[in-house]
Amino acid sequence: MDMVTVKINGREYEVPAGSKIIDAARIAKIDIPTLCYLKDVNEIGACRLCLVEVKGARGLMAACVTEVTNGMEIYTNTPKVQASRKTNLELILSTHKKECLSCIRSGSCELQKLCRDLGVTDENRFAGKNVEGLKDESTAFLVRDNDKCILCRRCVAACKNMQGIGVIEALNRGFDTQIGSAFDQPLAATSCVSCGQCIVACPVGALHEKDDTDKVWDAINDPTKHVAICTAPSIRATIGECFGIEPGVDTEGKMVAALKRLGFDGVYDMNLTADLTIMEEATEFLGRMKEGKNLPLITSCSPGWIKYCEHYFPEFTENLSTCKSPQQMFGAMYKTYYARKRGLDPADIVFVSAIPCTAKKFEVRRPGQSAVGAGIYDVDYAITTRELGRMIEKAGINYKALDDEAFDQPFDIGSGAGAIFGATGGVMEAALRTAAEVILGTKLEKLEFEEVRGTAPIKTATYKLGDIEVRVAVASGTKNAKELLNKVKSGELAVDFIEIMACPGGCINGGGQPVQSAATKASIDLKAARSSILYNADKKMELRKSHENLAVKKLYDEFLGEPGSHTAHEVLHTHYIKRGL
């Protein structure tokens, strides 16, 4: 790598040529304040909070967009810099609805932190013309309150640049500027896929998930209801972050202990129905390979991806696996098999899933997600990692101090294959472990399918299983899904089995995960830190294959029959809609 020498605040540093000043400063252990900046996603120099002095330059330079040059002398902390940043921040504050005490982002708001860091003492120094901001609660998953929007455009960039969708934009100009959709339509009228990446991009409280926790509390406090919760594979890898634990720490035991203290009647592991999904999906895949029909098979665990496919690639809906997602399979099994076993009326069960995903809030009310019928949904409420974190905080539970506890039976066993569902490539690897042993008829010597691991946007591999060659591809992030599907469509890429997750990196980076600041995202690889937990968990487990999960086997023995059976189809499979744009 070519290096250049720069002077930052009088000290010399060697930094990679082509670095932005902000990255060079990080090497010098200096965090330059930012608001609109989101590394690799939104680098537009709009908020003017990252201004620095550069010797010889005419004015102050925006550190997030200015590249270093050899011999550059940069000053990040002069009185002129401090005064400019503070004034710019005060101007931004002039149009911000300062409802800080009751704001959902109180404590994690980047604007709030900047006010403290830059020493703002009068948040009302400038009185701006305040145009009434758009409020949009039209979708199942999102609340937009533009009165709090600071027009940083991070959500716009996440939607357009990162996800390749672009259903939101900056509209109008001057004081009338607002983030919204074409022709001022509500978001629900657009081809938004509900991935929620806009929410985790937002530095303030202008965007947040629709909060379903009150409904869950009501259910818990209703003695006539049986309230159960299951947690998705990736929650254990991220929920600690809600309590100030650094990213990359597995807190599964504490999570279970906390959930049991919240008053749920059952606390279960969704890894189990991840395994169940693999049994159904691997069977479906082998069936389609045999018939040569509707190939490539494309996974269906990610409801954001499903909605994306329905809107943008309706010609591929026949290729989607008909398997419900693990969340929906869990609810469906609970209200059929388990209700019967325990003598519970499905109407009295409230099934909650804790998920890393905002699209799951949309998924729970989709048609074809009711195994019992009669208006009883498989899953009643899907709450994000953030909502679950808030419930635990509200209950006053000292999360960090909890001793580990274990999931409740009979849904307590999940394999390593189920655990890795939360990372991109995980579903593919889990399915391959099972499909390979079914095809080969013998045990695999090596369970790791390294080629589909890692956070690369698109991964492809070919595996020879006996006489059968299986060509696979994995994409995460809808922009990468688009690229992959266009290659499949044009015939450039021949493939039999595709895994797609709507969020870049998979569920560990989902739109329902704890919000991390732009500064944290720039300094650590969040996706890698979080997914390492799942792969480490898998590595340590004895049970690493879905088809060896005895709890899953029991479900087939006692209720479902065999994978792909009539009952399995009635309870565990669904259908899709060709939505178009």
Partner: protein, 164 residues
Amino acid sequence: MKKKMTTVAFNDTPEQAEQLNALIAKYKNVEGNLMPVLQGAQDIYGYLPLEVQKTIALGLGVSVSEVYGVASFYSQFSFNPKGKVSIAVCLGTACYVKGSGKLHEKCMEITGIGAGDISPDGRFSYDATRCIGACGLAPVMTVNGDVYGRITPAEIDGIIAKYL
């Protein structure tokens, strides 16, 4: 000021549709194509109906939000059809200090409509624009694209009469 959206139903002729498709085809693979296509489309239709913006988005392979974002940003793109007599007064800095505010009031009085509107009979449309780049002639108004410079409110009746 936020632009007003027309309530007039969109009716295009086959010729207009053909012109729009040719325009999109011409610019399809050109970088920075959105502005010239929007300008061309406004020349064809006199304004930018929603349907036209959707066609442009689809044709150029960009999101309809992006098209609308750009179209709503620039003041000289209109979401309202133009009247038979399309009047505009420049409220840019130079014109404004030379008294275009008074021209603005007079035009609204004569036409009976506000800035960005079209009269119900389709006779007049009126726009208050930002700088149109004719500062040397300030204050400036345009009627159906003809530029009138250094005018006073008293002259406006006579100018408009020429177009009726």
